[in-house]
Symmetry: D2
Amino acid sequence: MTSNTIGSPRSLFLQEVEVSGHIIDSLILPKVLDCITALGASFRIKQISIGQARSDPSYALVEVQAESAEKLEELLRTIADHGAISVATEDCRLVPTEVAGAFPEGFYSTTNQQSEIRQDGKWIKVENQEMDCGIVVDAASRKARCLPMTDVEIGQSIVVGHLGVRVHPQQRSTERQQFEFMSSSVSTEKPKGPAIRQVAQELFNTRAAGGQALVVGGPAIVHTGSGGHLCELIRGGYIQKLFAGNALATHDIEQAMFGTSLGVHLDRGNITETGHEHHLRAINRIRREGSIRQAVESQVLTQGIMYECVRHHVDYMLAGSIRDDGPLPEVVTDAIQSQRIMREKLRDVTFCLMIATTLHSIAVGNLLPAWVKVVCVDINPSTVIKLSDRGSFQTAGLITDVEPFLRALVDEVKNLESAPVSDQ
Amino acid sequence: MTSNTIGSPRSLFLQEVEVSGHIIDSLILPKVLDCITALGASFRIKQISIGQARSDPSYALVEVQAESAEKLEELLRTIADHGAISVATEDCRLVPTEVAGAFPEGFYSTTNQQSEIRQDGKWIKVENQEMDCGIVVDAASRKARCLPMTDVEIGQSIVVGHLGVRVHPQQRSTERQQFEFMSSSVSTEKPKGPAIRQVAQELFNTRAAGGQALVVGGPAIVHTGSGGHLCELIRGGYIQKLFAGNALATHDIEQAMFGTSLGVHLDRGNITETGHEHHLRAINRIRREGSIRQAVESQVLTQGIMYECVRHHVDYMLAGSIRDDGPLPEVVTDAIQSQRIMREKLRDVTFCLMIATTLHSIAVGNLLPAWVKVVCVDINPSTVIKLSDRGSFQTAGLITDVEPFLRALVDEVKNLESAPVSDQ
Amino acid sequence: MTSNTIGSPRSLFLQEVEVSGHIIDSLILPKVLDCITALGASFRIKQISIGQARSDPSYALVEVQAESAEKLEELLRTIADHGAISVATEDCRLVPTEVAGAFPEGFYSTTNQQSEIRQDGKWIKVENQEMDCGIVVDAASRKARCLPMTDVEIGQSIVVGHLGVRVHPQQRSTERQQFEFMSSSVSTEKPKGPAIRQVAQELFNTRAAGGQALVVGGPAIVHTGSGGHLCELIRGGYIQKLFAGNALATHDIEQAMFGTSLGVHLDRGNITETGHEHHLRAINRIRREGSIRQAVESQVLTQGIMYECVRHHVDYMLAGSIRDDGPLPEVVTDAIQSQRIMREKLRDVTFCLMIATTLHSIAVGNLLPAWVKVVCVDINPSTVIKLSDRGSFQTAGLITDVEPFLRALVDEVKNLESAPVSDQ
Amino acid sequence: MTSNTIGSPRSLFLQEVEVSGHIIDSLILPKVLDCITALGASFRIKQISIGQARSDPSYALVEVQAESAEKLEELLRTIADHGAISVATEDCRLVPTEVAGAFPEGFYSTTNQQSEIRQDGKWIKVENQEMDCGIVVDAASRKARCLPMTDVEIGQSIVVGHLGVRVHPQQRSTERQQFEFMSSSVSTEKPKGPAIRQVAQELFNTRAAGGQALVVGGPAIVHTGSGGHLCELIRGGYIQKLFAGNALATHDIEQAMFGTSLGVHLDRGNITETGHEHHLRAINRIRREGSIRQAVESQVLTQGIMYECVRHHVDYMLAGSIRDDGPLPEVVTDAIQSQRIMREKLRDVTFCLMIATTLHSIAVGNLLPAWVKVVCVDINPSTVIKLSDRGSFQTAGLITDVEPFLRALVDEVKNLESAPVSDQ
């Protein structure tokens, strides 16, 4: 497998790349070297300067050798995603689209890291950074942006290949990290108190700075009897946006109308079988009103998460799925349209708290750039593992139970409100 | 809480109900009595005759007492779902719809058990049995059927209240059950061999009888390297329908085109980071072709699950979700439209095998009547628990790993093929 | 398999059994009938009288038919464990032991349900009820008690076979159950508040009645930063006994001495790698003192769970395991000796709260009679499933995170303390 | 927190350390720098030379600065475990023990990495490397070895502090790794085939090289009906040692005698309740024989895992726990004695396969040096996560179902047997 073909000396297929920044302790250089070896290629470090102190940037010039031109190409594409840039840089290559809804073959596939493309020798920042898109370049305005496959129109200029594209991997900040618990391995046996305090601080800071905090939530928020805690956060002005599905809204409205969630009385907790159809009656009533908003105005809906969203102008978005009953009138049943709306609403989000939903969390994770802070809370480790496989320093997982998490979060936020002002 | 209000003797609110069939060992009578007590009401068994042998049906006449008319009404509605029928039966009450997409208040909400309604003193079977629907009655044809909320049109006659509706709960068959492992509690520590043999027998019998076997599958079938096993079942004629999402089809096509699934080489199993964008390139190619079917014809797609589906006329349906990349051209992105298509395709399904997908399994579970046999396979107990909460004798859960399950299933099916014909 | 051998009519092997009590709604009769059919035998109900109201007991006389004498014997043994007693009752048969540490062949193997044996026509209650033991009868005192296999001495009289033994299955009380959440299926999506309130009430009542509450705890209590909550309960007089392993005590003492648990600072929550050997230094210091008790007296140990146990006379027991470091001096390293000590200490326990430990929970569950109330709390459903497979109405599982559970439990207990006295 | 105390310039507390080897791609240097920053200290890289190619070793000289002497000491201790050695090296300090069963305060606490101590200017290799021990030095023989706390005798010379101790962290081999799946994150969605092939290859190579393969197994091997597969591996000469508990042996013997495991018939898989006491009868019979070995000789035990172990001279060890019934005669009930026996038997183990047991896996993991290859197989991710937190390159986790894993493993081993000899 590693044998050289006679007459085809490996040295023919080599290229110099450079990496810079906090390449040692943000693990950028180790990752690049690991990729090279994992793909069966080899490397020589031709030059390296390590910053004398933690705040100083470092630099490495690495010569990569592969056994074929194709291997080298594949390798360069892979390490480019980790920030290794070919020294012999050229402008990026643009190919016009000839089919609607599809890219040209060989299109550059984006990551969620900040990227730039090179045009006429100048590096241009890519807008609307999002993973798994193409990059479209507007010749007139000299602007580049990420473009989802479904939005491709005929005649657009799409970046093809990896040349002339560079990526700036997210680096650990030189100060201590906001979320110290982030980099930890997934564990149910870690203390939760400090992590919850950090989330509270983040919500507090976001409100103070006029930022946009997004909650992505699943129906377990209601089933576990935690709806009231979320309502408090909304009334306190800590939540600006809510992404959820039909289920969260339905069970919240069922709870507001009947005091049950999936037929279970939240204040009694018994498994009385009565009223398993309550959620259906709740949906039916809202459909008769025409919308949740209308139901609030006509006082058919007088409490709960959705009620508070309407009253406190939380910008909510309900995305449909094939397991929905009903659904409620505002639910966007088309998945592509839902993605477009979420994409738009995510533009100004600065902090994202995902609670007890795998589907919506991954959907939002797919759309977010790497630099938006995300905390994902779930009692099931597999959801958190899937999310943190995204692999950014900015995603933190917390394996805990929803109800006590939200209860403690409200307590911590109140502690911050009543604390004397500090310059922390 | 249980105190009597003076002057309001509880005895005023009472009603006689009857239950019949295998009411002891199918747990019908115990469940009914449990519901009554759980709701704070009480009962008197006025008459009971227990079948002398297991095959003989039994009968019980039970007087129910509640402390208010509302409680009694709620209770009767609840136990009606378990097969308890009011003795004083009347015709069902019909109310015309006056809003499109919504039922009248107080509509009868269906279960997945076979139901009948009473019109002019006669019991009429409800067609298209499905849970969480209403019942629409056509005056002219004297036919009744389940109607999803979204499909309501103005002027339809909808059953309101529980009077004049009766339910026939699924009973354990008198012979030994097809799936003996069904009634077992969820456990990862049970022997899997016998259960897999029973699933193989079911597929074998279904094919022999010209039935329709449906596979509902998640992308882990491909990630775990099990696609080939499913292909064998398809080529063997054991699968008539496939419901999946964009992910299963995408990773299957990625695997067919690049040999990777989410960038992982299935035959090597290493975590080479190259090619995480392969799935995107696979989608893009199919979109350029226009459809999976077209890609098979033009030999852009030459192997894999979707390829075999096209070649062997498996009736597939790909339902979209908000976490989809792409998606592939055939994916139905609207959730309501997906439900309508699945509902239609499910009409003649006789056996359903759900593999490694929570979303699609629950979606299909919601649409199936209680008497269709379902086996749900997942490595994660929580999916199986959610499904078996459906609570029918016909749903069996199997907690195991997808790859070895499918590998063993193929082996067992082949054993059956080569076995001498028996009358088992 | 079900074919009759010619000349061996099945009717030859039959026996009448009777069941009484709340046989319908405690599921006793359905279970008995299910066992009969599951074993391939058949039955005829010869007589049945169902209590008119819920509080009235019922009675059934059932004729059991099996195809061989062995099958019949096996069947009678099985249904005897569910309370079905042969009508033709005789005295139990006693066989003397001839090997130390082992029972005679065919010994009656106990359940955790209250049992009686028949001697000289009289029913004698079995003392020290415990599952998986034998029953030893003392001829002189006419007393019977459960005897673990390891404690068998030569010459003891042991009950052999199932004749002359009867079992009283635990029945649902006629009042509403103390733990309404008990009978519910395992789910992470249920509201936790009501369940926690019920546990608090149970601790409160136990203290008021001078009962003995036992906590069986794992090290996650300390890792998750919940030690302080348990300390509060101890100081409040709510815990009389503690069973744990070396790990809980070690990490508690590590936390008391160094502020870390497994090297993690509980108040900071960061994953500082320093001090992973703190737990070893903590053990070492206690070993140098000679015992935990001595370390408290000499003020080497001045806070934490073990400290509070010593100060508040909580009767603690630390059982060793093969994964222990150290261990601490008081740890009982022999498993058989540990079981003997636990057995002794469990005699007067009236309420048992198991927190985040599979090993110790199952060990204690094995030793407890069915009528002691047990609540098992764990974030991992599999522990709770294993425990509730014990199958008594008295065992309740709660899937939640330890820290917030204990935090909320302390809150609820305080609410009860400050509440006006009621007769609830 | 980071403010400097006036008059106490931070520069006073500094030290130079050096790291060498594959410090970039084995992540040694990044880890050391990370520790320094995480503890609030800072660093300057004074000299660095990176190997030109992957096979060349690298070297770095790092100056560490801390704000107090204690911080510096703690820091040096921490990074020493990752291979950072103080430049100003002295001989290690020895303190005699004055209490049996306890080390002197400040003892050096070992890791599972190869370590050396410095005596009279020479580096001496530490024998019996094991984590969480002390190091005892024999003055006469000039030998050093790891010593468990319980084995301390009065008057031994124990290493105190970290000076004069150096650690050689396990490095990634320069060739491709034996277990490529090792470094992957925990996931249930990975292809299992390649990983199973690698385990088979490892067993095959171990047998060929006359090595010692150890299986550490839980009772699920029997419950899931996989006992026969393990028997095949034993008969094939692939297993030299078996560590298990009372449960595996008991259920194996129950299966051999009654055809059930915990009362479940493995070939039928139904949940017949009969015979839940079979395991107790199995133990009782072996206890009557005196030992498993004797039961094989007297033909009371004629098949199963334990039978094959006796016949094929597999060196087995059964360790007791507090949840054991019985136990079987050979079970070592004292935890400390069990550890001593395991420690002895582990000396020559070259490959370790852990299957479906958390307790025994962690116990063995605690005793093994970092360079022994370990594969841990479990359907429950949490066991695998706990094991891989050990953090050596040599530990690989595989989340899959036991039965199909062992079935496939037997298949793969047979493929290797019948394969033509290659030099792979």
